[in-house]
Amino acid sequence: MKRVALALLLALALSVGVCAADYYPEYTGPPVEITMWAWTSNENYSIEEFQKVYPNITVIWEDFGVHYEKAQTALAAGSGLPDVLMVEYSFAPEYMDLGAFQPINKWLDEETFVKLYGEQALGWCSMDGEIYGTPQDSGAIALFYRQDLFDQYGLEVPTTWEEFAEQARKFKAAAPHLEFNAPPLGYALWWVGLVWQSGGKMFDYHDGNWYIDFTNPIAEKVFEFWGELIDEGTINVTMWWNADWYNSLNMGTTATVLNGCWFAEWLRYNAPDSEGMWRVIAPPNFDPSNPHNGMLGGSGFYVTAHSKNPEAAAIFVNWLNSHPDSLRCLNQYSNLPIMVSTRYEEVVHELAVDDSFFGGQNIVEELWHAHNLINTTFVGLPIWSNLDNALSLLLQDYVDGKIERFADILPMWEEQVIGFMEEFGYFNVIVGELPD
C-alpha cells in the first residue's frame, strides 16, 4: 500500500515536473540583461528566485514615480521602453493598440496561457490573438466593511443589492453624519467595474471593431440603482485618493467601501488606526443565485516592442506571474492579491492565514472566493484617460447641481466617449451593440 502511494506520488511529481517544464521553456540564448519598470514593492524577491532557475537572464527592476509619463514619452520617441512594462489592465488595450508591445505567443502559446491564467485574462493581455504579457494581481471587487459600525448600528452584511440599499437607508437614518458608502467622484474603473460585477460591460473589442453601448440594460440597472440612493441623499459621491478620503477611512466615518481586492493591503498601510475594525466579503449581487464579479484595477506585465530580448522577457513575465515560488514571494513581500494565475491554487492554503488587521479574518480565502466569481471579460477602450476625465467632470456637474438625475449621466458619458474615439482617429466603432 505504502509503495503504491509512493509510486503515485512519484508519478504525480513527475507529471507536475513535465507540466512545469512545458509552462516554462528553457532559455536558449546567450546571457542577457533585461529591464523592467514596475511600481509594486519588493519584486526583487521573485527576481532572485527567477535568476536561480535562469542564471543566464539578469533582471534589472526600476521604479519611477512618473511611470506612465515616462512610458508614454519612450513610446512616442520610438525607443527607450524597458523589456518588461507593468501596465494596468484598463490602460493595456491603448498600449497594445499603439504598438507598444510585441507578441510572445512563440514562448507562451494561447493554450498554455489559458491553462495558467484562465480564459478571461486573455481580455487583459491579448488582442487579435496576439499575447503580449501576463497578468499579475487581481482587481476582483470586494466589499470592505467596518464591523464596529455594523455592530453599533445593528446592520447586517448585505448579500444582495436590495439588502445593501436597505442597510444604507437604515444607517443614514441612525447616523446622518456618517456615510454608509461613498462611491468615487470620477474613477471610471469603479463604475465600469460595478457594471462588470453585475455580469455586464459597456464596451468591448472584437474582430477589428470597437463596440460601445453604455445604455444596455445591465449598465442602466447599475446606474439606476446607485442613482436612486444618491439622488435621495442616502449616500454621497466623494473624491477618492486624497487626504479627506484617507482620513474618513482611518477615522471610521465611512462604513463600507467597494474596491479591488488589492485595497486590503492599501488599507493596512494608509488607515493604520482602523486596525481590527475592517472585514471583507464578496460584493452583493442583484441575483444571489447567479452571482458574478468584476474587477477594479489590477495590472499585467507586458513585453514591449523595444525589447531586444523578447525571449528572455517572455520567459520572465510568465515565470514571475505564475510560478508558485514567485507567487509565494509576491504574496509575502509585495502583499499582492496575485490570484489571477491558476497556479495560485497550489499555494493559496499555505498563504491563507488569519489576519489581525481584519480582526482575525482569513481574508485570502474570502478574496480568492471573490476572484473566482469573475466569469466574464471584455477589452477596455484605448482612450481610458479621456473616458475617466469625462466621467469626473459629469459627476462634478452633478454635485454642483447642473445635472438633476444621477442616472442621466450614463448617456451623456457615452456621447462624450464616442466623440473621443472619433477625435483620436478610431473610426472602426460600432455604437449601440456589444459582442457576446
Binding site: 504598438g99 487626504a243 479627506d244 482620513n247 484617460s385 476625465n389
Partner: protein, 295 residues
C-alpha cells in the same frame, strides 16, 4: 581681416568667453529644445508612428476651444493676482525702508514662503482647505458658519489667488526693496527739505522711480501666470478640475495622459509665442513712456 582691428576682435572674443557658460546652457536647454519643438509640431503622431502634417496641428489648435478656454485662469491671475501682488509688495517694501536696516527679520520671514517648492506648499494648502481637516473650520464656526465646503470648483480661482499671493509677495517685496535702496538718498532728502511727508515721498518721488523694476516684475509674473501649473495640479486631488484648467495643464495632459506629444508641442509653441509677444508689447509701450520717446 583688415576691417576689424585686432584689439576689437580680442575684446569680442573675451566677451564671448565670459558669456560661454551661459550660452552653452541657454542654447542646449532652451534654444535647441524650442527648435526641436517647432519641428516636432509639424508632425502627426500616434504611439511611435509619426508623419509630416505641415501646419495641421496649428490649424486644429486654432479650432480647439479647449485650448483657448484654458486661458481663463491665466487671464484672471494676470488681471487680479499680478496687480494686487505688485501693489502689496511695493507697500511692504516701503515699510521695510522705514525700519532700521530695512527690517531684516521681516524680510526674512516674508521671503520664506518662496523657498518652499510649489508642489510642497500645494499639498499643505490642500490640507488647509480640505473638508475634514481644515484648520479654518473652527474659525468659521465662530462666525456661525458650520460645515462650509471650502474647496469647490467655483472657489478654486480664489484659492489659487491666496496660494500664489502667499508664495510670491514676500519675494517680490524683496526685489522691490532692493531697487528702492538703489535710489539716491538725495532725492528724498531734497523732498523732505521741501516739506514732503513720508508717504508723499514714497508715492510721489520713489514710486515713479520704481517704474522700470515694477514693469520687469510685471512681465515676469505675467509669464508665471501664463504658465501656472503646480498649484491647480495639486488642488486637482481634492476637486475635479478639467484637463484644460490652465494652458500648461492642457499641454501636460495632452502629452502624458493622452499621448499626443506633437499636438502638445504645437500648443507649447503657441503659448511661447503668445508670452513673447505679450512681453514685447509691454516692454515696448513701457519703454516709450519711461524714456519719454515719441515716434
Amino acid at each position: 581681416m583688415t576691417w576689424i582691428s585686432k584689439a576689437r576682435l580680442k575684446a569680442t572674443l573675451k566677451a564671448y568667453l565670459f558669456l560661454a557658460p551661459f550660452l552653452v546652457v541657454f542654447i542646449g536647454l532652451v534654444v535647441y529644445p524650442i527648435g526641436l519643438g517647432v519641428r516636432l509640431s509639424l508632425y502627426g503622431q500616434r504611439g511611435a508612428r509619426m508623419w509630416y502634417v505641415g501646419l495641421d496641428n496649428y490649424k486644429r489648435i486654432f479650432a480647439d476651444s479647449m485650448f483657448w478656454q484654458s486661458f481663463k485662469i491665466p487671464l484672471f491671475l494676470l488681471l487680479v493676482q499680478v496687480p494686487v501682488m505688485l501693489f502689496l509688495a511695493t507697500m511692504i517694501a516701503f515699510l521695510y525702508e522705514t525700519r532700521k536696516g530695512g527690517g531684516p527679520v521681516y524680510r526674512f520671514i516674508y521671503y520664506l514662503p518662496y523657498t518652499i517648492p510649489g508642489i510642497v506648499s500645494g499639498i499643505v494648502w490642500s490640507y488647509i482647505f480640505s473638508d475634514s481637516m481644515s484648520p479654518l473650520h473652527p474659525l468659521l464656526s465662530l462666525f456661525g458658519l458650520e460645515n462650509v465646503k471650502l474647496l469647490t470648483r467655483a472657489n478654486v480661482p480664489g484659492i489659487l489667488l491666496v496660494i500664489i499671493l502667499w508664495q510670491f509677495t514676500g519675494y517680490t517685496a524683496f526685489l522691490v526693496y532692493s531697487s528702492l535702496i538703489a535710489i539716491p538718498k538725495e532725492y528724498s532728502e531734497a523732498a523732505q527739505i521741501d516739506g514732503a511727508g513720508l508717504w508723499q515721498i514714497a508715492f510721489r518721488i520713489k514710486l515713479p522711480l520704481l517704474k522700470g523694476p515694477l514693469i520687469t516684475l510685471f512681465i515676469f509674473n505675467a509669464i508665471g501666470a501664463m504658465q501656472v501649473f503646480n498649484e491647480p495640479w495639486m488642488l486637482g486631488n481634492l476637486v475635479v478640475l478639467p484637463l484644460n484648467y490652465t494652458p500648461a495643464m492642457y499641454i501636460y495632459n495632452s502629452a502624458f495622459s493622452q499621448g499626443r506629444f506633437t499636438y502638445a508641442t504645437a500648443m507649447g509653441v503657441i503659448l511661447a509665442v503668445i508670452t513673447c509677444a505679450f512681453s514685447w508689447y509691454i516692454l515696448r509701450s513701457a519703454g516709450r513712456q519711461i524714456l519719454g520717446r515719441r515716434d
